[in-house]
């Protein structure tokens, strides 16, 4: 690759740059949302429900991790971490992509992902109950399906 453009070119373009920002990239965006972000130091508590929820929603669609990552346009390594590591905190943008793909209100999903402070204590309690009822096994059992659908219904409830 040719990186041999000269100093004069760099300086000329630098003078044209003005005072504007240059940041770009979809993952970079910091979406505006209603919830209050949880401080980094408060994010140590494990969030079991979110990873389980993503895994079951994925399996309900008969998708493997790679297919979901490609379809929802999220980083495959981040998706693996979400499903496998209850201490992992996803990017806000990733939760947005998942909320659009699964058609779940993003504020609810941000809460169970541990990124925003719970405004609705019932969602938190249902998340704990869901985590307890949804042991990961090879196939989606009728019980898991019921647990998942019950939780989806709660997340979709209008306040």
């Amino acid at each position: 690759m040719n990186t041999e453009f000269d100093a004069e070119w760099c300086l000329n373009m630098a003078r044209l740059e003005g005072d504007g920002e240059i940041g770009a990239g979809t993952v970079a965006a910091d979406p505006i949302f209603d919830g209050e972000l949880i401080e980094q130091r408060q994010q140590d508590e494990p969030v079991v429900a979110f990873g389980r929820f993503v895994r079951l929603m994925r399996r309900r669609r008969n998708m493997d991790v790679e297919k979901l990552a490609n379809t929802a346009d999220i980083d495959i390594e981040e998706l693996v971490s979400i499903e496998e590591d209850p201490h992992f905190r996803p990017e806000v943008r990733t939760v947005y992509q998942l909320s659009m793909f699964f058609d779940i209100p993003r504020e609810s999903l941000l809460q169970i992902a541990g990124l925003t402070k719970p405004k609705d204590n019932r969602i938190y309690q249902e998340a704990v109950r869901f985590a307890a009822r949804s042991e990961p096994v090879a196939a989606l059992t009728p019980e898991e399906r019921v647990a998942l659908e019950t939780f989806v219904a709660v997340l979709n409830e209008k306040k």
Binding site: W9, C10, M13, A14, G20
Partner: protein, 211 residues
């Protein structure tokens, strides 16, 4: 992995003159250490000031939650994701990660053709007028976009580029880079999608040569 370090120049705002810089075709542990030890504290300092001055959240830097260490780790060794950094005064001044395989052009005249997509690009906090006045260096953005164009040419994509701009950067991509603004993209948090044709990339390069 061997790293190419090309001698370049940035505009030192205080001196109003050029200062020797380097364009690296990689993001290494050195850049990530700078990000952690220098960029992050500077960004925190700037955010505290914005908070004290009660600047509305929508005017805070959009990229304040970026985690370059995680991004760099996720693409390490992937040929489809070339990365670049700009060094000056022994410190990292800007970083960029590209994608050369996953995206296609949207402009009608080149629709479906390959392009280089700018996954992430960011300036050091002290180079951003929004955070520090006066800023320290200018020229990081145009140098990195030139590197993206050259990558596109090397891939056989004739200088075609695409990116989703953060709201505060729309002016840079529309007026400095003169890319085509394709409007807000509902799939990507309504960020504006910008695309550069091969003709626009030639014009971008020529502008620097004749200014």
């Amino acid at each position: 992995m061997s790293i190419t370090k090309s001698p370049k120049v940035l505009l030192n705002v205080e001196w109003q003159a050029g200062e020797a810089a380097e364009l690296w075709d990689a993001i290494t542990d050195q850049q990530l250490a700078d990000w952690e030890a220098l960029w992050q504290p500077a960004l925190r300092e700037a955010l505290q000031r914005l908070h004290r001055e009660k600047v509305p959240l929508e005017r805070w830097p959009q990229s304040r939650h970026w985690d370059w260490r995680r991004k760099a780790a996720s693409i390490r060794g992937l040929l489809a994701n070339p990365a670049f950094s700009v060094m000056c005064g022994g410190v990292t001044q800007g970083m960029m990660i590209l994608d050369t395989t996953r995206r296609r052009c949207r402009i009608e005249s080149q629709k479906g053709k390959n392009l280089v997509y700018v996954e992430y690009i960011e300036n050091a906090p002290w180079n951003r007028e929004q955070l520090f006045k006066p800023s320290r260096y200018k020229g990081v953005g145009t140098m990195l976009i030139r590197a993206a164009i050259e990558t596109s040419v090397a891939e056989g994509f004739k200088g075609r580029l695409g990116l989703h701009s953060l709201p505060q950067s729309n002016d840079f991509y529309a007026n400095t880079c003169r890319m085509t603004d394709m409007g807000s993209d509902a799939r990507y948090q309504d960020l504006h999608y910008f695309e550069m044709t091969s003709e626009q990339s030639e014009e971008f390069i020529a502008r620097g040569a004749r200014s």
